[in-house]
Structures are given as structure tokens and as C-alpha cells.
Amino acid sequence: MQLEAVITGKAYRNAAGEQHDVLDKVELSLRSGEVGVLFGPSGCGKSTLLRILSGLDRDYQGHVSRPSQARIGMVFQEPRLLPWRSVEDNIRLAAPGVDEAKLSALFDVLELSAHRSHFPSELSLGLARRVALARALAVEPDFLILDEPLASLDDALAARLRQQIATLIEGRTMLTLLVTHNLDDAVRLGDRLFLLSARPARLLRTHSIDRPRSARSEADIRAIRTDLARLDLPNR
């Protein structure tokens, strides 16, 4: 399975009819088993790009090719759980085929086992994110989309969730696309980094990291970060 996208433009039109460009030229391709990272400043159009790639938004210029029968698991920027269903029901509704073993394994990795019967309003943001993540993985996706899964969590929590995400990604061959505006997360999780400009987002460059995630040492990560910092991205 492969994702190919050539987007040449996306604009929102406000009530007054004024055009508000959000995406410029963005070309990207990603193969199954790879983790792509969309990296760019806040408000540059990353979530908009994800909505296009997932097929939610068809109003754009360009072309996206993705197998039509691909199962998508998506973690939106906000958890988007059904407030009137328990944690377990939220997951089972999205993934009717999930068996108990798979579900328990997911809950184990994400440390959610104690929260199965809780309602979303009883969860902290960190927990709700993990439930959203469990839901996305429970559908056994071919295409996993994560929109800023680590944002607004404190450092320790973010590090733990990042580790959990890495474990879950390793456990299944799928196409993964992750959005972040944190370079450290991008370098630790990604195989291919798509560096985006400020709004309207334009693909500045693609950077591949060849060393497998699990083999990346702290020194490697530092080196890649220094490399990328030299590109002076924010000012391009």
C-alpha cells in the first residue's frame, strides 16, 4: 500500500467571499511500513492536509491516491470520543471486529485497563488521547493518522506516550502519518520528515532518516536535529 499526494492548493472562503490560502504546493509519497512526519509551525495547515489525505475533505486542488479499501485509523487533534459511551464501547463501535485479546493487549500497552468502563468526561486529556489512539489501532488500520498526539501533555507523559506509540507502530505494518510541531518528536518517531513552511504550507524539503527507530541513539537524534536546525526552517 502506498500513499501519493500532489496538492497544488487549498483555500477556505470566508462569509465575505474572501479567499484564505491554507495550502500551497505539497507533494508527498509514503510506503507501507514507513512513518511520515508532517512538521511545520502551528497554524500552517497540517490538520487541513490530514483531512485531505484521509479523504474527509475533497475540496482542494491536486490529487491524492490511496487504495480505496484502505482502513483508516485516525487520532484527531482533539480526542473526539463519544461522550455518551464508555471507553470500551467507543472502541468497539469504531472497531466491531476487534477481539478481546487484541483489545486487552492495546489496553495493556496504553495503560488503559483500569479505565475500560469510564466515560470520556471522566478522563484527563492524556487518557482521552490514549483511548483515541487505542480506537485508531483497534481497527487494524492500513493507514494510521496521528494529529499532534503529544501536544499539551507534560514532558514525562509525552515521553511515555511517545514510547507507547513507537511500540504500537512497530507491531503492525502500515502507513503511518504523524503531525507534530516538535522537532524532537519528529526525529524520534519518523522515517521520512516532510518539512512545511508557514501558512500557506509549502513542502520545503523531505528528509529521510535511514537508521531504524529502535536503533537511534541519543547521539544520532542530536545529530539529526542539528542537521535540520542548520536549514533555518522558521525563516524560509
Binding site: 479523504g55 474527509l56 482502513r71 484527531f76 473526539r80 463519544l82 461522550p83 466515560f119 481497527v139
Partner: protein, 245 residues
């Protein structure tokens, strides 16, 4: 306890008032109770209450079903909203009496005409409430359902309906209040049984104990249904909210 005292005060006030204005104009509580017992013994009370309740149930079900469907449709589809809006405004502003009279003229003094007229009176407010509820649906959850490929029925049942439920409850409550009032008028004008019809008869005979007997029995039934059915339903549909705290 406070309620009981309040009811007792009401009864005492009624009794004193009847002594002041005279039993012919305002019969004392025992006279009304005697009328209730007589009607109950002959079975007429239950027959008439039953006829009225049946009309209420049918027209309520009809108006709620249609109102929910149309309101949802108008809330979702722009074109439907623009086409339906003038009709809605017309119906909202049409006096209940006009609808009832026209229904009887066009469809005859029939059961169908009565039930349709009552339902039409309630319909527009149900539509407006449900349209409001549909417009307030969270698009973020719709997107979630789309991405995770929820089948239509499942998305409606688990994503849309729980969001609409408070609006359905509100429409049911206000609609029922409206129907309780209108059903009597419809019966008075064109039916030969039911509480409204009996009140009309009592009015013509100036039989005030009978008039009060039917009015109070009816009010009691309304009260029981409101507290035993409508309020528990409202609590039920918003149960998940109470866990938020």
C-alpha cells in the same frame, strides 16, 4: 409534605370561596367529588378519559415522528430548509382554532380530522426544535464516524441520536403541554366523546359539578403522565451528562 399543605390550602380556599359565592356558581369539593364518583360508577369517566388519551397518544406520536424527521432533514439539507421555512412560519402562526375548524370542514367531523388537526398544531414547534438540534450536531463527531466508516444506521443511532435526545425530550415536553390544551378544543368542536365533549355538554346544561369533575380528573391524568413518563425520560436521555462532574 409542602405539596400536601399546598393542596390542602387550595381545597380550603375553594371551599370558602364556594360558601361566599354560593354553591350554584362554585360547588364545594364534596359536590364535585360526588359527580366524579357518579361518572366513574357509570363508566363514562373512564370511557371519555380513554378516548381523549387515545387521541393525545396518536396525535403526539404522529407529530413527534414527522416533526423529528422533517426537523432533522431541514437541519441537514440547506435546500429543504429554504423550501420548508415559509410553511413552517405559516403553521407556527396559524391559530389552533383555525386548523381545527378547517380540518373538520375539509375532512368532516371524523376521528382522522381531529387527530390530524391536533398533530398539525404541534408539528411546527417539533420541527423547529429538532432543526435547532440538528444544526447543533458536532461536525467533529460526524468526521470521526466518517473516517472510521460507521455504517449509516450505526452513525445515526450512536452519534446523532444521543445528541438529538435532549431536543427530542424538549419537543416532547412542550408538545405534550400544547396537545393537552388543544385536544379538548378539538373534541368540543367535533367529537361526540372525550373530556372536551363532556365539558361542552356540562357547559350547555350549566352543570358545574360535572364540568369540574371532568376538568379535575383530566388535570390529574396529565399530572401523572408528566411525572411518571416525561420527566424520567428526560433524566434518562441526559444521564451521561451528569457523570461529567
Amino acid at each position: 409534605m409542602l405539596r400536601l399543605i399546598s393542596v390542602a390550602v387550595l381545597l380550603v380556599t375553594w371551599w370558602i370561596a364556594s360558601l361566599l359565592v354560593g354553591g350554584a356558581k362554585l360547588p364545594p369539593p364534596p359536590a364535585v367529588l360526588a359527580a366524579i364518583v357518579t361518572e366513574a360508577k357509570s363508566g363514562a369517566l373512564f370511557l371519555n378519559l380513554g378516548a381523549t388519551l387515545a387521541r393525545v397518544t396518536l396525535s403526539f406520536a404522529l407529530a413527534m415522528t414527522l416533526g423529528t424527521a422533517i426537523g432533522y432533514w431541514m437541519g441537514r439539507v440547506r435546500l429543504a430548509d429554504r423550501l420548508g421555512d415559509p410553511w413552517l412560519i405559516l403553521l407556527l402562526n396559524l391559530p389552533a382554532l383555525v386548523v381545527i375548524v378547517l380540518a373538520y370542514i375539509w375532512a368532516g367531523l371524523t376521528e382522522v380530522a381531529a387527530i390530524a388537526a391536533i398533530a398539525i398544531n404541534k408539528l411546527p414547534t417539533a420541527v423547529v426544535t429538532l432543526r435547532e438540534g440538528t444544526r447543533a450536531l458536532d461536525p467533529a463527531l460526524d468526521e470521526m464516524a466518517t473516517v472510521f466508516a460507521f455504517p449509516r444506521g450505526k452513525a445515526f443511532r450512536h452519534v446523532v441520536l444521543p445528541q438529538l435526545a435532549p431536543y427530542v425530550a424538549a419537543a416532547a415536553r412542550s408538545g405534550l403541554a400544547l396537545i393537552w390544551k388543544i385536544v379538548l378544543v378539538a373534541e368540543l368542536l367535533g367529537r361526540s366523546n372525550g373530556v372536551g365533549f363532556e365539558i361542552g355538554v356540562a357547559f350547555q346544561l350549566f352543570d358545574i359539578p360535572l364540568l369540574l369533575a371532568y376538568s379535575l380528573s383530566f388535570a390529574a391524568v396529565v399530572l401523572v403522565i408528566e411525572t411518571a413518563l416525561v420527566q424520567p425520560f428526560e433524566v434518562r436521555v441526559s444521564r451521561w451528562r451528569s457523570r461529567a462532574a
